[in-house]
Symmetry: D3
Subunit: 326 residues, 6 copies
Amino acid sequence: MRVNRSSELEWSGVQTFMKAPVCLTPEDLRAGKVDVAVGGVSWDGTASGLSGTRLGPRAIRQGDYISGSRHITHLGVRVNPLDHLVLADYGDAEVLIGDVEGTYENVRAFVAEILAGGAIPIILGGDHGVTWPAATAVADAYGHGKVGIVHFDAHADTAPDMQGSLYGHGTPMRRLIESGAVPGRNFVQVGLRGYWPEPPVLEWMESHELRTHFMAEIHRDGFGAVLERAVDEALDSADHLYISLDVDVADPAYAPGTGTPEPGGLTSAEVLWAIRRLAAEVGMVGMDVVEVSPPYDVGPDITALLARRAVMEALTGTAMRRIGLT
Amino acid sequence: MRVNRSSELEWSGVQTFMKAPVCLTPEDLRAGKVDVAVGGVSWDGTASGLSGTRLGPRAIRQGDYISGSRHITHLGVRVNPLDHLVLADYGDAEVLIGDVEGTYENVRAFVAEILAGGAIPIILGGDHGVTWPAATAVADAYGHGKVGIVHFDAHADTAPDMQGSLYGHGTPMRRLIESGAVPGRNFVQVGLRGYWPEPPVLEWMESHELRTHFMAEIHRDGFGAVLERAVDEALDSADHLYISLDVDVADPAYAPGTGTPEPGGLTSAEVLWAIRRLAAEVGMVGMDVVEVSPPYDVGPDITALLARRAVMEALTGTAMRRIGLT
Amino acid sequence: MRVNRSSELEWSGVQTFMKAPVCLTPEDLRAGKVDVAVGGVSWDGTASGLSGTRLGPRAIRQGDYISGSRHITHLGVRVNPLDHLVLADYGDAEVLIGDVEGTYENVRAFVAEILAGGAIPIILGGDHGVTWPAATAVADAYGHGKVGIVHFDAHADTAPDMQGSLYGHGTPMRRLIESGAVPGRNFVQVGLRGYWPEPPVLEWMESHELRTHFMAEIHRDGFGAVLERAVDEALDSADHLYISLDVDVADPAYAPGTGTPEPGGLTSAEVLWAIRRLAAEVGMVGMDVVEVSPPYDVGPDITALLARRAVMEALTGTAMRRIGLT
Amino acid sequence: MRVNRSSELEWSGVQTFMKAPVCLTPEDLRAGKVDVAVGGVSWDGTASGLSGTRLGPRAIRQGDYISGSRHITHLGVRVNPLDHLVLADYGDAEVLIGDVEGTYENVRAFVAEILAGGAIPIILGGDHGVTWPAATAVADAYGHGKVGIVHFDAHADTAPDMQGSLYGHGTPMRRLIESGAVPGRNFVQVGLRGYWPEPPVLEWMESHELRTHFMAEIHRDGFGAVLERAVDEALDSADHLYISLDVDVADPAYAPGTGTPEPGGLTSAEVLWAIRRLAAEVGMVGMDVVEVSPPYDVGPDITALLARRAVMEALTGTAMRRIGLT
Amino acid sequence: MRVNRSSELEWSGVQTFMKAPVCLTPEDLRAGKVDVAVGGVSWDGTASGLSGTRLGPRAIRQGDYISGSRHITHLGVRVNPLDHLVLADYGDAEVLIGDVEGTYENVRAFVAEILAGGAIPIILGGDHGVTWPAATAVADAYGHGKVGIVHFDAHADTAPDMQGSLYGHGTPMRRLIESGAVPGRNFVQVGLRGYWPEPPVLEWMESHELRTHFMAEIHRDGFGAVLERAVDEALDSADHLYISLDVDVADPAYAPGTGTPEPGGLTSAEVLWAIRRLAAEVGMVGMDVVEVSPPYDVGPDITALLARRAVMEALTGTAMRRIGLT
Amino acid sequence: MRVNRSSELEWSGVQTFMKAPVCLTPEDLRAGKVDVAVGGVSWDGTASGLSGTRLGPRAIRQGDYISGSRHITHLGVRVNPLDHLVLADYGDAEVLIGDVEGTYENVRAFVAEILAGGAIPIILGGDHGVTWPAATAVADAYGHGKVGIVHFDAHADTAPDMQGSLYGHGTPMRRLIESGAVPGRNFVQVGLRGYWPEPPVLEWMESHELRTHFMAEIHRDGFGAVLERAVDEALDSADHLYISLDVDVADPAYAPGTGTPEPGGLTSAEVLWAIRRLAAEVGMVGMDVVEVSPPYDVGPDITALLARRAVMEALTGTAMRRIGLT
Ligand SMILES: [Mn+2]
Ligand SMILES: [Mn+2]
Ligand SMILES: [Mn+2]
Ligand SMILES: [Mn+2]
Ligand SMILES: [Mn+2]
Ligand SMILES: [Mn+2]
Ligand SMILES: [Mn+2]
Ligand SMILES: [Mn+2]
Ligand SMILES: [Mn+2]
Ligand SMILES: [Mn+2]
Ligand SMILES: [Mn+2]
Ligand SMILES: [Mn+2]
């Protein structure tokens, strides 16, 4: 269902992601031969820092000045992803305020619906807790153990629990590994820094063979070298790639609108470059962009814009891969 | 076209006005038997103060915590307007940056489309200049001279021109009167204050028999008494009522998000009460809510919320009239 | 434990409520002969609108320019509450992100601790969901059925559930009534307006004899008259008074920093007057001030300041009652 | 020296107060036959709450949408003050960061210069401490004991000292009285509320016969009645009127941009009405508008706008008095 | 006309650019032997993204903490530009709200006036549309075809039109080339990125021999190398250099206050270095700094400050060139 | 005195620095065997740019999402500083509004108290003027001439006076050198840029042998090389190291919340790296972190967070040194 007039400026009219048509069921997706469906999880019920990510999907949907029409071209690689991919906005998963478990179940079902519709799911968070059900749904579709995750984050998100709760934005990677959905070896982590987690968790990560690239390594060797390693590891570790982008991997200067900011992170250019390369060179079957917290965003909502551009880079890379341009 | 899931929270999913279905053509409106269609004019090209009203429709669409489902009830009058009215979101008129005349023509055509679809148009501005084409389209439909306007504003908006330009947010009422679309006698103005316009314009207003209620009168006699007079004048002055609400009629404490704020204005309760009474007791064939400038709005966008509530009061009053509850 | 230097300006040094000494156990309270203990519940996990109330207690603690020393005097009644009451800051209840039920249990235990320490609890929210466990703890202490609540709010908060969850900031009054802790007849509600809840809930309220004063009544009869009625009803309805103040009872102009703002509310002066009169004329055994959402507050955090002043008015009224000045 | 083009919009070009010409010496003022000179004191070095008033004059100069041309008319009284008064912008007094005493001396000399130029000084603060030197300069010119002050404020500002310092925004009225410049009996205070000052200071005020109107009186009797009393007292108490307007006399909803906000205050309409009546009915020889703190202002800087309008009301009232319209 | 006292702090007194004296006519400029005149175009009527650049000149004028006195020294090159250049503030061009064509004509005449006064014009925007008339005026003075432009921008701004309008901030470079004022070969563009414009426009740019340096080149080769090339091309391409700086060439982290932000841009240090080198090594006959949108700026208005520093670097480079220090 | 519950989330409960226990006297420090005491100076009375640093300590204390419990680990070096150091919050020095000299004396005494308690003082400013008394107190303890300072700043802060006043945030380094407390040769300055100070001051700096590293050097040679030089110079220049960190050394993108921002500065990663290396390789006996101005901070207060992390890096480096890990 197209809900926009073709002549609309970006900030005018009903706000869907890139002014894509709306689909609400797997049948809609199949009928539209949709390649990629963007869906939101407006949820901040498992964030331990500042709240506000419940408004993330809305902000990312509307965070742009470029008309969402087909007439876009990536200036770096000269590809228009919309020439090669059919995009839809799948609306939002149902969140249940005060019911954490029910919400997580809804997210898993929501992503499963998109996959059932034949589309690649790109999930807009929401706090990082949603990666647990979202990536699980992808693993359900492609086979537990068959999916690898490249995880951009300032934080490991591998805590055994948060104050006793298994649900939380500090635990999703632990859940995925412990459930067998995504083996530890299939994880490539980029951008960790700061003062968390503690040694027992770090040891658990090593024992489960996560391939973690701390910012210290990036500052020492340069981002280009580390990205090279991450791409190689992603190619090596699994059959299918899921990208999980926590915007706090970028420095707070570039991504202030988030709930657990940590100085010393990546630049916006580095984030975008990495996403595009992974999508193009490794290919991707699912993605999430999480932890955008609009109440803390600044100026023209630069964090939501960065998140949106990351999705567009993923689309561009995916299109490049389809046309053999990697 | 419904683009939302019934279980969505207000800030989740695709943002249409009150989660109403989207219509893009008069045929859509007729097919859906739509009673009231809300449409945006994302435009600030004729604002002489601060800019930003181009984001007004987007902010008003999303300015709420109440689910847009049918399950609302006005606590003061115990009416659910959606039990009696079919509501649609008609998207936005096409604005042309840098082409003032073309934009105004588009607005007139856009409102005419809604009327052609059989629905009452409620236009979300945008700067107040859009009242010229919007109210003209309503007068086109009901007959020039047959429509009266109750105009809430801190400003008269009856300037002959703005720096030589006939187009502007300081001139729409002059244009409507001089074109014959709405005779001066059919204007009831409420809330004027401050230091503008100059005596020649005030004299012109008197000579054209506008019925202007300055804040000085309201401070002296009380809002209740002046509203009573305004309702009587509206009933007396024309066959059909168009309501034009410039949010700056409210005091900047209540409506800070606007481009030409003027201290000493109405409270939010007074604005809402007046709109509902007019819609219920006089009836209305069209409405606009203008001058919401989101870059200057504060907190949880309280100005956009007030504008949205004003539309909901108009819906409630219209429903009350339909069921004979005035 | 005093943690401040006597010469500190308000915004300097460690921020406790009014620079009161810190107590962490009932024993501390008893040892200090504390009359009133202020405690926080930094929680927004059951808010259905905008989030952010998890930062409420921090903002209210620090929202002032008056030194917290004993040297204050209420200019309206010429009473220094700290001449008559020993005040302490009891810190915060433990909130469990992602564990709603556990958090509510902790709140109940936290308030019970304060009562066990012999002090009147004043709870700083947090979303309004915390009133369920907080007021239950007070009812536990004074006897179920013996406590009445004067509830200031734009919203009834009497929903049977929120999307199926019993926990939520729209349900606490329902929970208290259905559990028998506070009978419906013991509720006096002030300030309701807007479009929520629906008729079945309103009917339930009537059938349970809640005494609800809508803003429509206040606009018609004046706040003074309605407050008079509310005071009489509070005196009539129960042996002990608990005050629950949702800051959204004030108009968004006066209390923008909240998650479910509703135009058409009370002024700051009306809120403060009402709290002081109730504390002085009826007396109070517990209180909460909820729904302050700092990410949406404006300027010098005027909503947090209003909440803080409301607590100070409660202290003043309590002191007035102790010295027989009502 | 005119520094603006006549065709400029308000926010365009060099920002002087109401686009008035600039004068920098008493000779400039005399040469231009200036009636009223507006001057700034960009100073926050003696504010005990939040800082930021050092940017007050800049914000007030630019806080408007009305062109500063002669073409303005007060809609309530139909007077254009600029038809009757020559206005100039006298720039700013020299503030010395880290040198309190030197700055106060400079303010006294700055105001004396304006008076020597034959103009009525209107001083834009800056924190309220500047009233001491500013009003002293006016008393120097008209005779100590001959000037009366109507003082709008949430606070008495009659402390004997601030942490031992005689300089401060809590002491100016004490300084003026103790120096004999303005006897206590010549003070009319309007709008006091909150929890400060303490009884000994209140007793000192009574013993010095200040005529203090607390908000409690205004809430009880209405603003109209109290304003009537204040006008009578001002006429009774001295030969010459100086108006000192601390913007925090308005409620934080109307004047959030200030450093020591206190809920429960006046509306914007009440403030403006009072200033105009005093200027028209009593006449005025000097004025200050203080405590505007732009870092805490909201939206389109509504506090600076209120301050600016207060100056315009003073100009209007002064013009009314000149033409016998009171 | 000097309108400031020598002792003023930067944020005090009347705000002209660097506290420079004001000139309003070419005669003023000639009389003052002015070398460089800064003028504003407070205009956002042709911006297709967010609005707000109408406040750009005001914000840039006041965006600093350094006293505008002669006592400044560039720490990198140890030159005080004001020792070698006479600077003036020429106020603003007349903008006509609602009259795009008239405004552009005024800008062309305004710049022509500065050139007629013998000064180098530095224009503070306003949206980038103003470069069309501004650079045309410079080309009028130096000869069409004789001026080259180094254009810093995230965007090419070479669209044939914007929704049919030739006027717009996406078209100025096209206009300049198609009118013959500045041949395509005389354009050196730096910093382009993102998803705009489309291939036909890119092809047009190539066919007109624009020398475009995309961010992709800068990320690959480093900014130093690309700047070297740009300087060489600027020296090669024309007799006279005009610099057009769209602040969005900087990353949104460094320049958030703009209407069409694009992640992945330059740092502030790179922008400033480039401007100074061009002014020093190539020399410049005109400049504009555009797209500063203050409503979206953050903190101490860091985008306006960057724009201001860019002008100061241009002054420094110009002074270096005059004294042979390149 | 511990004032927090162990289970509290960071933003919950009473806010001390890293939830450290509170000490108010040297005896408290000695009794607790405190190694490092953090104390605030909530003061902006000697800032010549924007004000607001009086709220710096409060913002830095609460600027985090990491629980202040012992369970932290620096991911780059795998050290938990709290395993090796006892930390306390020493509250704030008494600031005297309007009494500059008295405040500076209080700061000197406050730091002396911490040293008398056997702890390393880390002072949270406040404007940079406080370094004069703070570093003097350290020199008093270790011997005048025995202490060296590594001074990170965009500005030299070596002015002879500010408008005649010796007190100011532009003069502390001059005061320290001229008093003999810290010889010029013992100063290593990093990060200077912009247009201040003037040549005579620069010459004075050279004649006093300050070792100043301008940003121009860093841009030319890279930060790593310059940091190496700075560490060597620090080791060479004195027996004891005092670190003075003005947050404006970072680019405004990374540290917008400051009063005299200067584009072209360090990244957050560079600042943190430098502090940790100095603490680890040179050792430190005192530190200050100044010029955080919360009213100008953005998003989740990223400048306060950077300041807090700088303190944590200093703690980490100090712990590394204690365990021989450099
Ligand atoms: Mn994460
Ligand atoms: Mn993270
Ligand atoms: Mn209007
Ligand atoms: Mn208006
Ligand atoms: Mn509630
Ligand atoms: Mn509520
Ligand atoms: Mn005052
Ligand atoms: Mn005051
Ligand atoms: Mn551009
Ligand atoms: Mn651009
Ligand atoms: Mn410094
Ligand atoms: Mn500095």
